[in-house]
Amino acid sequence: MSYAIQAEGLVKRFKETTALGGVDLSARPGTVLGLLGPNGAGKTTAVRILVTLLRPDAGRAEVGGYDVVRQAHQARAMIGLTGQYAAVDETLTGAENLVMIGRLLGLSRPDARARARELLARFGLADAAERAAKTYSGGMRRRLDLAASLVGRPRVLFLDEPTTGLDPHSRNALWDIVRELVAEDVTVLLTTQYLDEADRLADDIAVVDHGRVIATGTPAELKTRTGGLVLEVRPAEPERLDLVLDVMREVIGARPELDGGLAVAGVNDPAVVPAIVRRLDDLGVVAAELSLRRSSLDEVFLALTGRRAAGAETEPEEPEETELEGAGV
């Protein structure tokens, strides 16, 4: 199988800092690879290597079949880059920014203008097309930046934290654009600190921490693999919580955690649920709430890194989509 992005053993050091300590990545053509990690994980460094801006100290990488070091020029012809910080020429208008890139990519003047108009319209910047980019808001700059990365119709698009600083409306619009591009068979590598973003957009996720990939898989696989399932039980009578905890520990073999009036435990084998239900029934404990669900990426991240992911606290909780049959008593 050929990959649109393939990296093996990427290492990058900055003086004492090891930004990347041997990173392997791969993305199949026409899919979204989410690079998920907290601040300083090495996401930007990995992107900069893949877009030929930085040479790895060790390891190799191919984009669109071209080696990013030895065939950098050909690789560049395949890629589009939207960096972590909007890279637009503020002294040019939005249209001029895009025309410049079109011209650099070999479009004729009329073609470059037409392409600029088309992209500005697509990104809701048509009205601001003739204004200097320095008068743009942060969100408008980011959209212009994204438009700039699409002028050359790249086969592989790199988006470094593309939704940071966007309002929810713009964020949704960007997600839609990513989906459209993928439908056109573009491969997208997207870095993010937001679990829900990776969950929604990515076909595959690589979790990066301290310059290493600590887990890979589809969002579903990741959720199943680490911690697997989560069992939550709330007794109707709160004073019987201790009893519930005891039962769960006995059956599962690990200590459940307390979350308000809720006993929460990671579960690998769903068969424990009927066992617990039966024991509780025997003891006459009525569960007001009992659910088995796949762990959220949040919990996956916590399990993998021992830390909560950035933004996890501020992001509103998503309603669980993966709730299994409630096994109510």
Partner: protein, 263 residues
Amino acid sequence: MSAVTASRRVGPLDTARHTMTLAWRGLVQIKHNPMELLDLSVQPIMFVLLFTYVFGGAIAGSPGEFLQWALPGIIVQNALFATLATAVGLNVDVEKGVFDRLRSLPIARTAPLTGRVLADLAKQVWSLALVLAIGLALGFRIQTGIGGVLASAALLIVVALAMSWMSVLIGLAASSVEKVQIFAFSLMLPLTFTSSAFVDIRTMPGPLATWAEVNPVTYLSDAIRGLLLGGPVAAPATRALLWSAAIAVVCAPLAVRAFRRRA
């Protein structure tokens, strides 16, 4: 884009096209940045007016006489300051990420540098013409002819090109625009003042005069003076060019290294 995919490297024709596109960009920038226009136009005019009317009487007895002698020096100072625009512009590009964007495109590696240098040269010619025009309006009289003016312009452009290596180096190595400006100012101001640009260096105290004699700005000013007013040209022009070559030889490899390090 399939058109670019096929090629392994950039041919000379494409390199020229990329350079022209980025030079165009450097010039279009002026349209939206009135401050730069101010820099480009008001500063030269101000130099000429201030030097002529503030120092003229004190230094040469009358503004008119001073202008006739000092305008070549003002032209040189103006040209040297103008080369620093390259450093500022490049540094802004690096800071804003525009430089990275350009380097991620399948274009000639050097185009982001050469495009900017080319645009800055065009600005250089503009401000030279402006200084000369305002000088002429205030009473400066060229003693040689159009050939002398063209030769002056050519010499200044060659020197400016050499200096732009230094500018590129500063622009790529400095961590912020403020540092570029501080560095540029504290380098250029003493350099241009400890020369024959505005005054007769024989009036300077011993060690300073010794330095002023070998100061490249002195050679350049003397050469331009010779070209516009008549007098020896070959010796000062040769030395000015040797200095430029030396600056380029030292700065070019360092600039290339800084460029690679950004890579």
